[in-house]
């Protein structure tokens, strides 16, 4: 592991805002992910053991990230994360109250995981600036991919020969889900730029990654692309014009 160019503590508070907010989102987002897999386990007793395992993996990611933050004197920005995640929590609560495990699977297993992967993957290139973060983000990335693979298989089996039903589910879930999670992606784009990633590339990777997952469950490529691009376009426009995203 390389030595960072500058000791983190020598940076002033203003410079640390982006990383504090990004790490806040990572830590509290992982805690929320743990909760969502836990709720899914309650709704699907037949898959409860694996879903509980996923919940504990996500909880572990949060613990790793928090510890890595501590080593770098980064205080994860809870207030920012809470504000970003509130809207997602409301959706998750609604889906759980409706007993809608499939909607939770799309929101958590596809949309949230797509965002995590789209950021953790390029983060590894700059991780050495924050000692101790490379290994935990690399392991989390690997495990997020495992979660996505399992969720893809689950949704494929659940909607085997019922692509239309899956399309309706996505239409129902995507509008709110992308508005919320894609909106967060747009809001952190500048923070990602400022720590040496490309916010635009992260957003593009999230869009492409999510479209690919929809295709893998049976949505025709063009339809998946149109749906995802169409939902991101208003968010991109708001970002470009400096308007309130959410």
């Amino acid at each position: 592991m390389s030595v960072p160019e500058m000791h983190p503590a020598s940076l002033d508070l203003e410079d640390r805002l982006p990383i504090r907010r990004l790490m806040g989102l990572a830590v509290f987002g992982e805690m929320l992910a743990a909760r969502i897999y836990g709720l899914m386990a309650q709704l699907k007793p037949e898959h409860a053991p694996i879903l509980r395992k996923f919940a504990s993996m996500e909880g572990q990611h949060a613990t790793w990230f928090r510890e890595a933050c501590r080593c770098n004197a980064i205080e994860p920005d809870k207030e920012f994360a809470d504000h970003e995640l509130d809207y997602l929590i409301a959706q998750v609560n609604d889906h759980f109250a409706a007993g809608d495990c499939e909607a939770l699977a799309v929101v958590q297993g596809f949309i949230v995981e797509s965002m995590a992967i789209a950021i953790y993957e390029p983060y590894l290139q700059v991780a050495d600036r924050y000692p101790g973060t490379r290994d935990v983000f690399a392991r989390a990335l690997e495990e997020e991919r495992y979660h996505v693979d399992w969720m893809t298989r689950y949704l494929r089996l659940r909607f085997f020969d019922a692509e239309d039903e899956f399309i309706r589910l996505c239409q129902r879930v995507n509008v709110q889900g992308i508005d919320c999670i894609g909106g967060t992606m747009m809001k952190i784009a500048d923070y990602l730029d400022s720590i040496g990633l490309s916010g635009a590339d992260c957003a593009g990777s999230m869009m492409d990654g999510y479209s690919e997952l929809l295709e893998r469950v049976g949505i025709p490529s063009k339809e998946a692309t149109r749906n995802v691009v169409g939902l991101f376009m208003p968010l991109i426009r708001k970002y470009r014009h400096g308007e309130t995203i959410k």
Binding site: A203, S205, K222, G230
Partner: protein, 215 residues
């Protein structure tokens, strides 16, 4: 004005829209003639001639909010090679035109003449895109199409935002169109075409995202 004047059949927003489209179609045709003559099809030539007859001057555009974004787009779309022309005009601006023509066919603000012109425009764009795809397919084994596409289209895509903003204000209410919906059509078709040509989809999506974000 007399009842036989062709312009009388176009409402002011329609005249404005067709003036913009005539500018873009004319530029496209000139670029094809210079760099990729095969794409200067009879349908494209006859469309441009028809638009020159219907809206012969820039009067409807002059002094309007759309004038500058249109001028900027036309300047950015001046290519200097066959590959750049295929990417900018053949793939991208043809798709923009096609998306607008296709939405005009069902737009409440498009009168009979606009719908007729949109049909001609859509058919000409479809032919040209097919030819552009086949030309690019032939080049795909010897040229880096993704790099060529990204380099050539970056300044053009950068103009879309200002065009969309002015376009939405000037034309949106009349035609019931939003530029982001047109852009969604364009991006969806473009991504499909570029993947078909062997370009890496993720890199292309990132290129489009960065351009639309103004990054």
């Amino acid at each position: 004005m007399t009842a036989t004047s062709p312009l009388e059949t176009l409402a002011p927003p329609e005249r404005l829209l067709w003036t913009v489209l005539r500018r873009l179609e004319t530029l496209g045709l000139e670029q094809y003639e210079q760099f990729v003559p095969a794409l200067a099809t009879p349908a494209k030539r006859s469309l441009v001639e028809r638009l020159r007859n219907e809206v012969p001057t820039d009067e409807a555009l002059t002094g309007q909010e759309l004038e500058e974004p249109v001028r900027d787009l036309c300047a950015a779309a001046l290519s200097d090679s066959a590959l750049a022309t295929l990417c900018v005009q053949g793939l991208t601006l043809e798709r923009l035109g096609q998306a607008i023509y296709s939405r005009l066919l069902t737009s409440p603000g498009a009168g009979p003449l606009s719908r007729h012109l949109a049909e001609l425009g859509g058919a000409a764009a479809g032919q040209t895109i097919a030819l552009a795809l086949s030309e690019l397919q032939q080049r795909s084994s010897t040229e880096n199409l993704l790099a060529g596409y990204c380099d050539a289209t970056e300044p053009v895509l950068a103009c879309f935002d200002a065009l969309g903003e002015a376009g939405d204000r000037a034309l949106g209410p009349h035609f019931g169109l939003r530029f982001i919906d047109v852009l969604t059509d364009v991006a969806t078709e473009l991504i499909g075409n570029c993947v078909q040509l062997g370009m890496n989809r993720r890199k292309l999506v990132c290129h489009l995202t960065a351009a639309f974000m103004g990054a």
